[in-house]
């Protein structure tokens, strides 16, 4: 092999280094697994970091019951293939109250995701949780550390972050406190796609274009993924060739019209496109600093 490492080789090595530090220093780590493309890359890197052993931590899916069906299908097979335990948490209160994205707006994200995550971490006593967030996604993420310290009540204090130097990560904390760790911090969206392409990593088919039933609503193309989708008067799902640039709860995730059905075609489309990745997500449109606020409250 060449002596010169490519940018993907360096990013891969950095992520593996980070994961090994966490495995060595945390008492009870877990990997947050959202079934999206970033999670897929993170899981793949975890397999590399600990090969030939399986990764020494479980996967945790904080479920909202509103993900795309195709995501639930991949979730099970990916965990099995990695030889890892898969934990699924659904906020029981949200379940009982029937919290959904159609009727409850931002409460949906808050209860299922933010509260659900905190519940799951407390329930299992996890003291370190890997997340697939990247610094290029959003401005407040650009300043977050790779090892992001959380108080016992899961709060993030952007003004009081630990300095992070060299490859030295301080994972020490008191009982009850925890770390969120972001091994993909320095990856960009293009890096992720290139890596998936090069490493032939399995991703949810929704990323590829196919004819799917969609309705146009509030400027978003929403896929009618199951019969829980309440159609408004006059709305008739139409089959259109669409794909998703990002995956979340299906009623909150906008599709883009596309015919890109191979990885190179997706990358091509991404490079030629003119809107940023998160635009398809309703969650970010609230306010410019919305993500920072959510993160302070404990959102990933």
């Amino acid at each position: 092999m060449s002596n010169r490492l490519t940018h993907l080789q360096r990013l891969e090595a950095e992520s593996i280094h980070i994961m090994r530090e966490v495995a060595a220093e945390a008492e009870n780590p877990v990997m947050l697994y959202s079934v999206g493309k970033d999670s897929a890359v993170m899981l793949h890197l975890a397999k590399k970091a600990f090969f030939p052993a399986p990764p020494p931590f479980p996967l945790l899916h904080v479920d909202t019951t509103w993900k795309f069906r195709a995501m639930y299908e991949l979730r099970e097979t990916a965990a099995k293939a990695a030889g890892m335990e898969l934990l699924i948490h659904q906020n029981p209160e949200a379940l009982e109250r029937g919290i959904n994205p159609f009727d409850h707006g931002s409460l949906h994200t808050d209860m299922w995701k933010t509260e659900g995550l905190k519940q799951a971490l407390d329930l299992h006593g996890f003291d370190a949780a890997f997340g697939g967030a990247r610094r290029d996604e959003e401005k407040s993420r650009a300043k977050e550390r790779i090892f992001s310290f959380r108080t016992a009540s899961h709060r993030w204090d952007p003004k009081n972050q630990r300095p992070e130097l060299w490859r030295l990560y301080n994972a020490r904390k008191a009982r009850g406190e925890s770390m969120r760790v972001f091994p993909l911090s320095n990856w960009t969206e293009l890096d992720i796609w290139q890596y998936i392409h090069l490493q032939r990593i399995a991703i949810v088919p929704l990323y590829f274009a196919a004819p799917r039933p969609v309705v146009e609503r509030d400027g978003l193309l929403l896929m009618v993924d199951d019969d829980r989708f309440p159609l408004r008067e006059g709305e008739v799902p139409q089959m259109r060739s669409v794909r998703f640039r990002t995956l979340g709860c299906y009623p909150l995730t906008g599709a883009v019209e596309s015919t890109a059905d191979t990885l190179p075609a997706i990358i091509q489309e991404m490079l030629l496109t003119t809107t940023s990745e998160r635009q398809g997500r309703a969650i970010d449109h609230d306010a410019a600093a919305s993500m920072e606020k959510k993160k302070q409250e404990g959102y990933f």
Binding site: L5, R10, A53, L168, Q194
Partner: protein, 632 residues
């Protein structure tokens, strides 16, 4: 749009060819130094914009923000793109380290964006620690300023080999070559004085885009590369790292079953191949590499920067924190170093206090001596200093509680850089860079004596111990200690009582009551107590000893089981009510500074061997309880 980024045609025509190009890109991490006034955020915004890293929706937000908050009239204020957190955006300053990403056909770039003011020295040091190149921005109208010197010093201190002097705002000085040349000359003489041998000066205008991605028509007199050309072609650290001897700190021992035992880590220097002779430090055991294991199959070679798993030919002890290195060029091993320390916490350095020191994959306990000197980061003058406070930089000796393998920082960032972690708050309080090992430890040998500690204790027919009373002033430590000693004397035990007040009349009369002096006070008492236990005595101490870290330090000095922490638990209100020496009254009146419990903290023991509740026990009962624990 510039042709460097002009890849749309290729993307559209032949995406496979495009991907192939981009899969062979290298990566450069760099830092930009300067203040908002120098156009730093504007420069980064410009790089992102020119690299097409700004999408339409982001651009729309940016244009809206520019009109609302911007400082460029109707033009786009690129700085707004870069300023992240909400509070900072409103104040118009960046106060942390932010990382930005962009790519060209040749390289991916990670930019560390840090604030320039002196109070953010720690942020800059953090950003510089992972950078291979620094862009030092100078405003052409203002020339080399104090902050330019400070940034250059810090960048050099952190071992960045490539420095770009970007003279910005050339448009505001009429693109005048004379202005540029004068600034470069001025900078050159300064750079030499701090040991910077070479730098690359480039005249630019971030606002107008001159000499950023390509040479503009405005400065025909300039014969060097555009900034982007330079960033794309400068030699990467990984090339230099490859020439170093092989070393890999072991992060994780991979043991899925009895048949496999691999050592996982990131190669910090050189290369490794099966069959290579290696030495494991600090143990010094030798073996050879059997396999270089990766998920993608065994490899015949791994190089600096790669994260791999090695198996060795022999079953030798090797655990996390040890370093596997080339047998013929092993690292040095030592427990005392001279180092440059950058203090990063609001609480100042306490010389003598034990901190966690993390370097490579190991964490050990370490103390820092009083600095030899501190450095004025604006003038590089050496100043006398007793401690280092937030953003303070100084040179001091560091002592670890065990041998660690290392390389001087100038040779390896990974093997010579360390962080210090406060044992109580777990905060990262300092960064350090090892200069060299001190030979003192090796030259002062331990003189073995024929009559050892067991013999001393045997003659006295007792087991040596330290009864360490800790508690607030006026809690009853001295009274109880005195009673314990009287009772032990009646039992024919050989004892010695070290009392806080008495020691300060002699051995420690040079010490005051600052936190640093309190640490030194306890360290000395600990050493004396240790000598006395060697002499076979039962030592009773009565010191407030307010800090957990120092009590733990003394515990670590003693043989296992010999240190018995006795917490004389008297609530502050009660101690203050008694006020036997009238000290609380004085402290409350402001006549006595740094008084424990009033304006200096007391950290109660979490798990003392003995806890004496003075509200429930008499002096007599307390003494009996302690003795019962000592002599069951």
């Amino acid at each position: 749009m510039n042709e460097i980024y002009k890849t749309d045609a290729l993307i559209a025509r032949d995406i496979d060819a495009y991907l192939d190009t981009h899969q062979h890109k290298t990566m450069l991490r760099f830092i930009t130094c300067g203040s908002v006034d120098d156009g730093k955020s504007t420069l980064i915004g410009r790089l992102l914009y020119d690299a097409k890293m700004i999408f339409e929706d982001q651009l729309a937000t940016l244009e809206a923000d520019s009109r609302r908050l911007g400082t460029q009239g109707t033009k786009i204020d690129f700085a707004l793109l870069v300023d992240g957190l909400a509070a900072e955006r409103e104040q118009g300053i960046t106060i942390d380290v932010a990382y930005r990403f962009f790519a060209t056909e040749k390289r991916k770039f990670i930019v560390a964006d840090t604030p320039g003011h002196e109070q953010y020295t720690r942020n800059m040091v953090t950003g510089a620690s992972t950078a291979e190149l620094a862009v030092i921005l100078v405003d052409a109208r203002r020339g080399v300023l104090t902050q330019t010197r400070r940034h250059s010093y810090l960048v050099h201190l952190l071992g960045i080999r490539h420095i770009v002097l970007a003279v910005n705002k050339m448009d505001l000085v009429g693109y005048d070559q004379g202005v540029f040349d004068a600034i470069v000359d001025d900078y050159r003489s300064f750079a030499r004085s701090i040991g910077v041998e070479a730098f690359t000066p480039i005249p630019i205008s971030a606002l107008e885009g001159d000499n950023i991605t390509r040479l503009g028509a405005n400065m025909p007199w300039y014969g060097g590369p555009a900034l982007m050309d330079h960033l794309e072609t400068v030699e990467l650290d990984q090339v230099a790292d490859l020439d170093k001897p092989f070393a890999m700190p072991v992060q994780w021992v991979n043991r899925p079953d009895q048949s496999f035992r691999g050592f996982a880590g990131t190669v910090t220097g050189g290369a490794v191949a099966p069959g290579d002779a290696v030495r494991v430090l600090p143990s010094g055991k030798t073996s050879s590499v059997a396999r270089v294991v990766t998920f993608d199959g065994d490899r015949d070679r791994a190089v600096a920067g790669e994260a791999v798993t090695l198996t060795l030919a022999d079953e030798i002890d090797c655990s996390r924190g040890q370093v596997i290195c080339a047998a013929k060029a092993p690292l040095e091993v030592a427990d005392q170093f001279e180092a440059t320390i950058v203090w990063m916490d609001e609480t100042e350095l306490l010389p003598g206090r034990p901190y966690w020191l993390k370097t490579g994959a190991q964490t050990v306990s370490a103390t820092v001596a009083a600095p030899k000197y501190a450095v004025n980061v604006n003038t590089m003058e050496h100043l006398a200093a007793k401690t280092l406070d937030l953003n303070g930089i100084g040179v001091a000796n560091v002592t670890t509680d065990r041998d660690i393998p290392f390389a001087p920082y100038a040779e390896s960032r990974d093997l010579g850089g360390f962080i210090l972690i406060d044992k109580l708050t777990n905060k990262t309080v300092a960064a350090g860079m090892i200069h060299f090992a001190l030979r003192r430890a090796q030259n002062i040998h331990w003189q073995a004596t024929d009559i050892g500690r067991d013999h001393h204790a045997g003659m006295k027919n007792q087991k040596p111990a330290v009864l360490w009373m800790t508690g607030l002033s006026g809690s009853g430590k001295s009274t109880i200690a005195n009673m314990v000693e009287k009772k032990l004397a009646r039992m024919n035990r050989h004892t010695f009582l070290l009392d806080g007040d008495n020691v300060r009349h002699g051995l420690n009369k040079d010490l005051g009551f600052t936190d640093a002096d309190r640490v030194e006070n306890i360290r000395r008492v600990g050493e004396v107590a240790r000598l006395m236990t060697d002499a076979g005595l039962i030592v009773i101490t009565a010191f407030i000893s307010p800090f957990r870290a120092e009590r733990d330090m003394v515990r670590a000095m003693m043989q296992p089981g010999e240190f018995i922490e006795v917490f004389i638990d008297t609530p502050l209100e009660e101690a203050e009510r008694r006020d036997v020496k009238g000290l609380y009254a004085k402290a409350r009146a402001g006549q006595l500074k740094n008084f424990t419990g009033i304006d200096s903290p007391y950290e109660a023991p979490e798990t003392p061997e003995i806890r004496i509740d003075t509200s429930a026990l008499s002096v007599e009962e307390a003494a009996d309880l302690i003795i019962a624990r000592l002599i069951p």
